[in-house]
Subunit: 552 residues, 2 copies
Amino acid sequence: MAILPPGIDSARFATALEALERVVGAGWVLSSDEDLKPYRDHYSPVPLAEDELLPSAAVAPSAVDQVQAIVRIANEYKLPLYPISTGKNFAYGGPSPNLRGSVVVDLKRMDRILEVNADRNFALVEPGVSYFDLYRHIQERGLKVWIDCPDPGWGSPVGNTLDRGIGYTMGFYRDHAAAQYGVEVVLANGEVMRTGMGALPNGRAWQEYKYGFGPDPSGLFAQGNYGIVTKMGLRLMPQPAHWRTGLVTVPKRRDLAPLINTVNYLNDLSMIGDPWYGSPLRPLLTDPSFRAAATRRGGGDADQLDRYAEAAGLHSWQVELQFYGSERTTLANWEYAKELMMERIPGARLFDGESLKVPLSREQIEQTTGPYATSMRRNITQGVPSLGIWKNLGRTEALPDTWAQGHIGLFAVLPRSADAVFEAQHVFADTMGELGLQSGITALSTPVMWYQFAFLFSAGFSTGGGNASNTPEGRAKVRDGLNALLVKAAEHGWGEYRAAPYFQDSVAAQYSFNDHALRRFNETIKDAVDPNGILAPGRGGIWPSHLRRTRR
Amino acid sequence: MAILPPGIDSARFATALEALERVVGAGWVLSSDEDLKPYRDHYSPVPLAEDELLPSAAVAPSAVDQVQAIVRIANEYKLPLYPISTGKNFAYGGPSPNLRGSVVVDLKRMDRILEVNADRNFALVEPGVSYFDLYRHIQERGLKVWIDCPDPGWGSPVGNTLDRGIGYTMGFYRDHAAAQYGVEVVLANGEVMRTGMGALPNGRAWQEYKYGFGPDPSGLFAQGNYGIVTKMGLRLMPQPAHWRTGLVTVPKRRDLAPLINTVNYLNDLSMIGDPWYGSPLRPLLTDPSFRAAATRRGGGDADQLDRYAEAAGLHSWQVELQFYGSERTTLANWEYAKELMMERIPGARLFDGESLKVPLSREQIEQTTGPYATSMRRNITQGVPSLGIWKNLGRTEALPDTWAQGHIGLFAVLPRSADAVFEAQHVFADTMGELGLQSGITALSTPVMWYQFAFLFSAGFSTGGGNASNTPEGRAKVRDGLNALLVKAAEHGWGEYRAAPYFQDSVAAQYSFNDHALRRFNETIKDAVDPNGILAPGRGGIWPSHLRRTRR
C-alpha cells in the first residue's frame, strides 16, 4: 500500500513525480516499496504502525538548480519535502521525515568539496560530502588541518551541523553549529540565498566571518525548516604538533565540585580538549550492597559512598584530560592542571597518560588505550572519521527482529556543576525506575562535555531486552517513557538538545516559556517565508499553519 | 521646531507621549529640544540638515513590563521605537535612529546584573549595565573572571553585542556575538520571548548552551529590529594566571604571507590572544621618496620596498603576540611561535616582550609599553574597561564646530591572507585619493584581528581638517566618499561589518547576492513579526513594508 502525501491523491501524486523526474532524470525519483526501503527509520519506535514516519517518495538532485526546480514543483503540488544529506543518522530517526508521506530530497549526489584552505583553516562543502570524503580529500593533499568528526564518519558535515551535532577535539570545533561559517540555502520560494559574507555577490571571506551585515538568520536553518542548505562553510582546526593525555582522580564524592570547576577553568581558557569524566568506583557495582547504595532513591549519600570508596582503596571520580599544541605546550598545560588540582582538591592523584607526536600513525590511532578505551577512542580525538562506534553500539544477533534492538533516550543539557550532576543522577534513575525502564544510571554516572560550555547527561536505554520494544506494548512503554522523561527533565530545568523526528514535538513542547512564545515566533516566520508549508513540515517542532493541528 | 514621527500629527503625538508617561512615570518621557540634546548624534554627517536622524522623543522604562507596555502603545499609535542601551556609541551614530522622528527607548535604567558565575564563567545582564558596572561588580566580589571589553568602557555588553562589537582578549571572547549566550526579548507584539535554554520555563543552563531546541532565531536580534533585548547572557573568560607578549619581525614584504599564516595557525589553536600587526618601516614615511614608493598607485612594489627596508636596516612587518595561561603555558606557546617563525621565515627576529603575573596591578595596567603603546593598551588586553582611547581619538580644540572633527570610514572584512592585505592597501588608498579624501593608508597598513577568524582593514578618515566636514560641501564629500568606498570594497568582495544608522542602507545594499535575497528574506520576516513596523525601522537595512520606499 503506497504512502501518499496528505491531501494528494495517487493520480496527482503520479503527475508530481513525473514532473520531478523531468528535473532530475529517470532513476532519481524513487517510489516503489523496494526502492524506499533505505528511506525508512530502521529504529522507528512505531514500526509498521499507521503513524510510522514513512516517506511517499525520494528524489535525488545533483545540483542547486535542480533543488530550486524541485521546490517550485513542491509549491505547485503542495508536496511536503524532507531534505537529507548523506550518512545514516541511526540515532536520530534515520531519513524519516516529521510528516508521514513527505518526499525525501536526498542530497547525496551533491558531493563536491568546493574548497579546503589550510592557511585560513576552513572548508566549503555540499550536503552530500561525508566526513570520510572530507578527510580523504585533506589526506590526499597533505593538508595540515583537522576535521572535528562525530561517530560514525559516514555522516556529512552539513547534515550533522544542521542537527547541531558534536565532535571530540577542542571546544570551539566540537560545537559544529558554532564552527558553521556561512550557508547557501534554497528558500521555499525556490530562490537561492547566502548568509554572512556570502551575501556579497563576490564575497571573499565567507568562511571567515559568519555574520555579514544586518540580522543573521543562519541559526534558523539548524534544526529548522526554512530552507534547503546546498552549501556550508565550516572552520577547521589546524593540525597540532602534539597530543597528550593526563588522568586526574579525586577521592571523595563531594570533590566532583572542585574537579568540575577546575576543568571548566582549563576548558574555557582553551587549555584542554574534550574532557572525559568517569568514576573509578564502577567495578564496585557488581557488589549488591554497593549497587544498592549507588542506586538509592533520592540520590547517593556522600558519606556512605565515600566509606565504600575508602574501603576499596578507590577514588570516587576521574577525568581524563587531553591536550593539543606543541609538545611543550601540552606539557605546560598538563603541569598546570596538576598544580591546580593538587592545590584545590586534597588527595587528588595525577597520572601522566600518553604523549604522542601528531599525526599519529595508523597503528597508534587504532591502538586501544586509556581508562575508557573503545575502538573509536583515538580516532575521534584526532579528527579521524571511523565506524568504530559500531563495535560498541551494534545490534546483537540475539534479537533478529529488525527494530527489536537499538537505543533511545535523551541527552539533557545540564549546567556544568556537580550539584546538577548529582541531581540528574537520581532524578533520571528514579524516574526511569518508576516508568519501568531499565537504565544504567547510578550515583556514579557522569556527564559528557561535547559542547563548549555545557554538560550533556545521558538518560538512554536499550529498546530491546528488558524494555521489550519488539512488542507493541513494549514499544508503547519506550515511547511513553521517553516522553515522561522529557517532562521530568524540563521540571528540573534541563532540556533535550536533539531528537528523532518522531519525538521532536515532545521535545519542543518543553521549551514553553511564556506560552510557547519562541515556537509561536518561529511559526510566524515559517508561515511568512514558506506559505505553502512545503519544507520539512514539523522539523524542530515547527509546523506550517495548515498542519499545526497535527502536532503530536 | 519639534520633530514628529512620520504620519503622526502633534496632537496625536502628545496623546501618545501621555500614554507613555503613564507607563514610566513623570520625568521619564523626554521631548523638549533641551531634553533631547543627549539623544543627538554629535558626529552626524548631516548636522541640522532635514535628514539628520533626530528622535522625536525618548522614553526610559525601568522594567520589562514597562517595555512591553511601551511596545503596545507604539502599536496603537504606530510610533516607531528605537531602543538603545547605555554608553555613547560615538563611532556608530550615537543614539540616533535609522528613521527620523523615532522615539528612543532608552534602557539605561534597566541596569541589574542578574548573575555572575565564576565557576561556570558567565554573566546575565540587563541592557543598562555598562562594562564599567560589570567590571566593578566582579572586582568587588573578587571573582576570577574577565570581561572582554571594547574601548571605551562606558558602553554596555548588551548594546555592544547587538551591534556585533569586539574586544581584545582571546579569540572566542573577542567575538561578542559568539560569546552571547541567550537573550530575552520583548517582541513587537509586546510579548516576552527567551531563546536557547531560556525557553525552558525553569531553564538552568541558559548561559551555557545557546541554541535550545529547534531553529534558533537569536541571530536576528544583532544588527536587527525584531525585538527589544531586555536580558542577555554572555560567556566570561576565566582569569588567566599569566600574561606574556612577544614581538616577531620579518625582513621582506612578501614575508607577510607566512607571517599571517603562522599567526592564523596559533590563533586557531587558541595559543595566542589578539595579535597586533604593524610595520617597522613606518618611520620611513617621513622620507618623501619612500612615501612615494609606499603610496604608489596600484600597490607597493615588493622589491623596491625591500631595498628601502634593507638600506634602513629595518624589517618590513611585525606582529606582537599575546599569550594567556599559566606562566609555563605562555612561555611554551611563545617558544613554539618562535620556533615556527624561524623555521618558516628566513631572517625572522624574535623579541621577548613582557611577562607578568595576572592580575596586573593598577600601575602595571596604566604603564604604557609595547610597539603600539597607547594609554589603553594594557587595559583592553586585560579586560579592564577604560576611557583611554579618547587620549588618542579625541576631538581637537582647533576646530570648535561641534561636528567638525571626528572619524568616519569603514572596516572592511578581509580574508586572513597577505594577498588580501596587499590588495586592500592600494584599492582603498587609490580610491580615497580619487575621491579627494585624505587617508593614512599606505603599503605599510595592516589589518586588525578583532574577530576570531577574519581581518578587518580600516579605511577611515578624519572628517575635519583636509576633509573639511564643517561645510555642507565638505560633509557631502565625506558622505559620498564613504558610499563610494563601500561600493569599491564590495567589488573586491569585502564588506563592512558595522555602521552608523545613516550609512546602514548603503552598507546593506552591498550584500545583494541574488537580487538582495537575504534582505528580502529578512524583510519578509520583519513584516510577519512586526506588522506595524514599529521596532527600529531601518536598522541593519531592514525596513517594514510601509517604509521600504524610504530606504536610502
